[in-house]
């Protein structure tokens, strides 16, 4: 089975995010970019299928800050081929519609059975990639996927519906799946393996010109206004612990 894993970079949520000068995007100059955690789950699930002996994996990503690191790491983990799509502004906010158009334009020339991507990314203002990409390609899709296996010309998919309930369906291939979780936590690639990949493998670059806006006009981006918010407990760990202990006792929930 030919699996394409579409990966992407995203501002690291651990960092403090600030708004840019015109107030319509985050300030991208000083943030660290990391790969989207759900794309990592998608890659892991693809690698598990390869371990089971039935998958050939291509990772593809749009040019974005530090994307080479993500692609080489994927190669070090066992992906067979890495492709970087260029021809757009790699520094800006690439909205879902454009991302899908660029990926679709490349996928239309490549051969694949399944495209896996993360169920969501934290800046998906204009919708999640899987459904948009599938519609552009005219193929089947499913989101919030927690497992799949191939059955001849179809894929049997498990989607989480909430509260632990799972929907099982069968989709004729090709299909695009938005992965929520892999069967195991993403594997680790050592620095040595990543270096080795950098020295022995290459990232294929393909220039694409395509776009397809889907989103509205962003008027303003801002951190949420404190709607009351939490009363912050100040002081040392011991002082804060004492305040919390009082709160717990005040609810009559513990004696000591």
């Amino acid at each position: 089975m030919k699996i394409v894993v579409a990966m992407r970079q995203l501002a690291d949520l651990v960092e403090e995010l600030e708004v840019n000068a015109d107030g319509t995007d985050i300030d991208r100059d000083f943030v660290k970019f990391v790969s989207n955690e759900w794309d990592e789950a998608a890659l892991e699930e693809a690698l598990c299928h390869k371990d089971d002996g039935d998958a050939e994996i291509t990772v593809v990503a749009l040019d974005e800050p530090d994307v080479d690191q993500t692609l080489y790491t994927a190669l070090a983990k066992g992906a067979d081929r890495a492709v970087k799509l260029t021809g757009h502004d790699p520094e800006g906010w690439i909205r879902t519609g454009d991302r899908a158009a660029i990926l679709a334009s490349w996928l239309e020339r490549d051969d694949f059975d399944l495209v896996l991507t993360g169920v969501q990314a934290a800046d998906d203002l204009d919708g999640q990639l899987a459904g948009v990409l599938a519609e552009r390609l005219g193929v089947r899709h499913a989101a919030v996927v927690v497992g799949f296996h191939d059955a001849d010309s179809a894929v049997q998919v498990e989607q989480e519906l909430g509260g632990g309930t799972v929907a099982v369906s069968s989709l004729e291939l090709p299909a695009v799946l938005g992965i929520q979780a892999a069967r195991q936590t993403p594997r680790y690639a050592s620095i040595t393996r990543i270096r080795q990949a950098q020295q022995t493998q290459t990232i294929q670059e393909v220039e694409i010109s395509a776009g397809g806006s889907l989103g509205g006009t962003v008027r303003k981006i801002s951190p949420p206004k404190k709607r009351g918010g939490a009363e912050m407990l100040e002081g040392s760990a011991s002082e804060v612990a004492e305040r919390i202990a009082e709160l717990i006792r005040s609810k009559g929930l513990a004696r000591s």
């Binding site: 800046d123 919708g127 632990g164 989709l171 936590t185 989103g215 951190p223 513990a254």
Partner: protein, 317 residues
């Protein structure tokens, strides 16, 4: 009168989800502003009809049998409903069905879409959406001006009571001509048993900030000292550090304890969906900008590794 707002009930089996009523409540206000009717699309023909009195019209998607689900089949059904009713605004939730269909339907109809929406308004010719970005760390105001606009709304954004009213909507049957290459096979309910975190008066809840499964012992000791169960955010469950029945959130359990004590949880919308109604939320997170502090009543940025042992000690652990 023309239909101006279409709400999708994401009911696959059983009751209509709470989100349906939240959307009906908001949808009826939007429909008034737009000067049209409110329609609700439902799968199948066997559904609790009297509960949908908040809508003017029910669009029955024939052929979408309740009790099973496949994205392409639902997509074909909802597309037929949209084509038949030509609404200005289509509302879904950010549940699995909305994540499945929002992007694909917007693409199919050439409309604009806003996701993770928490508020909606009409501004002249435009639909204004307020949406959460970056796990709730930013809010975006986005103006949609396409002839058909889509929004996927975070559950809990609008009061459900506004959408629960007794009316007698007329029913229209939508035939779905398209035959997608997919089969809806089965719905699997979660295994029961294990801990019931929904019944506990207090929860000690732990997130990815705990760092590793070895560190879990630390919070387990606090939970034991307080004689309450340990609950967790999704990454802790996905990493296999705690079993699934311990998960709080959209794809876990909805909890409402008297006290929800969280350590190392950022407060992503999918987590908040499961615990925002707790009576008292006390959050520990070293990042002062963590969205959990938006819903918490009390917060601290003290390191959990310093705070938890101090607390355990106070409760005789």
């Amino acid at each position: 009168m023309a239909i101006s707002v279409l709400v999708l009930s994401e009911r696959i089996a059983g009751e209509h989800p709470e989100a349906t009523f939240e959307l009906l409540g908001k949808g009826s206000k939007l429909a008034k502003q737009l000067g049209g009717e409110l329609a609700v699309a439902v799968a199948g023909t066997d559904y609790p009809v009297q509960e949908l009195g908040g809508a003017d019209v029910i669009l029955e998607l024939a052929g979408l049998e309740a009790g099973a689900y496949a994205a392409p089949i639902w997509e074909a059904g909802v597309a037929a409903a949209i084509a038949a009713s030509s609404p200005r605004v289509v509302l879904m939730s950010t549940g699995t069905v909305g994540l499945d269909l929002g992007g694909s339907l917007a693409t199919r109809f050439g409309g604009q879409l806003a996701s993770y929406v928490i508020d909606l308004d009409v501004d002249g010719e435009e639909i204004l959406a307020t949406a959460q970005l970056y796990g709730g760390k930013m809010l975006a105001e986005v103006a949609l001006d396409s002839f058909i606009c889509f929004a996927t709304v975070i559950p809990g954004s609008f009061p459900a009571d506004d959408g629960r009213s007794t009316g007698s909507p007329r029913v229209e049957r939508i035939e779905v001509g398209e035959k997608p290459k997919a089969v809806a096979m089965a719905i699997r309910e979660p295994e029961t048993g294990g801990v019931d975190i929904t019944a506990a008066p207090m929860l000690v809840s732990v997130g990815r900030g705990i760092g590793s499964s070895d560190n879990l012992e630390l919070v387990q000791e606090l939970a034991d000292a307080l004689k309450v169960p340990l609950s967790a955010s999704r990454p802790v469950i996905d990493s296999g550090w705690l079993p699934k029945p311990h998960q709080v959130g959209k794809s876990g359990k909805k909890v409402k304890p008297s006290i929800y004590l969280s350590f190392g949880i950022s407060g992503a919308p999918e987590h908040l969906e499961g615990m925002r109604n707790a009576e008292m939320i006390i959050a520990c997170n070293t990042d002062p900008g963590a969205p959990i502090f938006e819903v918490a009543h009390f917060g601290t940025t003290v390191d959990l590794f310093d705070l938890v042992p101090e607390l355990t000690e106070r409760f005789g652990g």
